[in-house]
Every structure is written in C-alpha cells, then in structure tokens.
Subunit: 118 residues, 2 copies
DNA sequence: TACATACTGAACCATATAGTTCAGTATGTA
DNA sequence: TACATACTGAACTATATGGTTCAGTATGTA
C-alpha cells in the first residue's frame, strides 16, 4: 500500500497548465495508454512524452506501471479533489467580492484614468 | 493526431501554480489592495510583486487600475468559471474510469458465454 | 520647492520547462 | 540468433519563471 503525501497544488496546477498534459488526461479518461501510443497521438517524441507523463505522475494525477517493455499510464486515484476544492472555495470569494461592490458602475466610471500602463 | 489548444486555461492554471499568487487571490478576496500593500504582506520587493500581479492579470484573474500613483488590484470578473468547469468535467472522467474498471471486471466474469475468446 | 511615496523598466541571475537528438538497455518475436 | 519494439537517460537548445537590484518617472505633501 503506497501512501502518497497529497502533492501540493503547485505541482498539479503546473501540470494542468500545459494543453498537451490536459489532453493526456483527457485521453486517459478514454482508456489507459502506453507512452508510445500517447507520443503518436500527440505527435511528439517518446522522450518528450515521457517527460509530460512524469510531470503528471509527480503531481499524482497519473500513475504508470511497466509490464514487459510497455509502460502503461492511467489516471491516478487521487483525482482532482484538492484542486476542485481550492477552485470552488475561491470562486465563491470572487462572487462575494462582486456582490459587495457595485462592479458595473465602477467599471463604467473608470474609463477616465490610466487603465493599464505598460 | 490530437491538438488541444486553450491558451486561457494555460495562463490561469500556470498563474495558480504559484503559492504566492494563490495567496494574492486569497488576499484580494478580502479586499482590493495596492501593489505596495501586497508586497509588504508577502515580504517581497515591489518589482517582484508587480510581476506576480501581471501574471494574474494576463490570466484575467485580477484587474488593476492606476489612480494617482497607486495601482489598485482586485479580482477580475471573469472568475474561475472555466477552470472550475474543466476540473469538474475531468473529475467525472477520473471517476468514470474507475467505474469502467468495475464494469470490465464484471464483463470478464460473464465472458464465457460471449463472442470468441482471443 | 523639496522630499517622500508608489510604481515602472531594464538588466541580471538561477532554475525550470518543453522540446529535441542520440545512444543506449530490456523485452518480445520470427 | 537476429531483429524490431518500447522505453530510458544524458546532453543540448531555447525560452519562461521567480526573484533580485538599481535607476528612473510620476504623484502627493509640507
């Protein structure tokens, strides 16, 4: 029984910040896959794909197992619970802010000043 | 070949992959803040804080407005909707995979009556 | 006017990322 | 045995990140 220390959100959000890696998760949702099949699907070298998979593994989002010469990748049981919780909690924060302020009016008013330098 | 392109999620997940930036969002949930006050709170140079805020701005998570010499930062009205949707959709994917595993197991149990053995 | 405050931009540094190629090793198959 | 397949690791490239310092500019205040 392997006990994973819940990897920090740093690692999982960083893993999710790449479209290829989100695609890999998508793909693994349709079925387990070898490094080679993923590399084919995403038009990338084996070595490049292996690196992506390692990033996902480090984040705990994917687990892999090598049988014979094939390393099979599948979604990790850890899932996206911690990430969903952070997002949901802070979504509420965003919404609470907008209820507190009269956003639309302040938005319409602000045309006069700087907006955003640089 | 599968080509996944969604730059907004790239930017926002990357923005969220840093604990300081998640902290800034947390802080802005409690009230708008200047660059200086954020730099103080997170024990960082002004320049360093400005960079973090720019990352959050590029991702659309924060908006800023300069009035006089003070740049005020607040949560962007775009919120975390797209991120929440991606996470939730894929959380279901993770769960579906594990249910699918159960299905495969039960299919294997009744395999004797079905099709040709391979 | 003089001075402090708040930010801005350029430049630098160390490390990480996303990818590659090339040279292996290990495994399966004819 | 010979050959193909599947991965692995090192090394290299280019760019991004997270931080700094230093030298400004713009703005508010006494």
């Amino acid at each position: 029984m392997v006990q994973y220390v819940s990897p920090p959100l740093d690692l999982s959000f960083a893993a999710l910040s790449d479209a290829t890696r989100r695609g890999i998760i998508d793909q693994l949702g349709r079925g387990d896959a070898s490094i080679t099949s993923l590399a084919d699907k995403f038009q990338m070298t084996l070595t490049g794909m292996k690196k992506h998979v390692q990033v996902l593994e480090r984040a705990g989002l994917v687990v892999t197992q090598k049988v014979g010469r094939v390393r099979t990748c599948k979604l990790g049981k850890r899932g996206l619970k911690a990430e969903a919780e952070w997002i949901e909690a802070h979504r509420k924060l965003f919404e609470a802010r907008f209820e507190a302020l009269d956003e639309i009016i302040s938005e319409m008013k602000q045309e006069g000043s700087d907006e955003s330098a640089s």
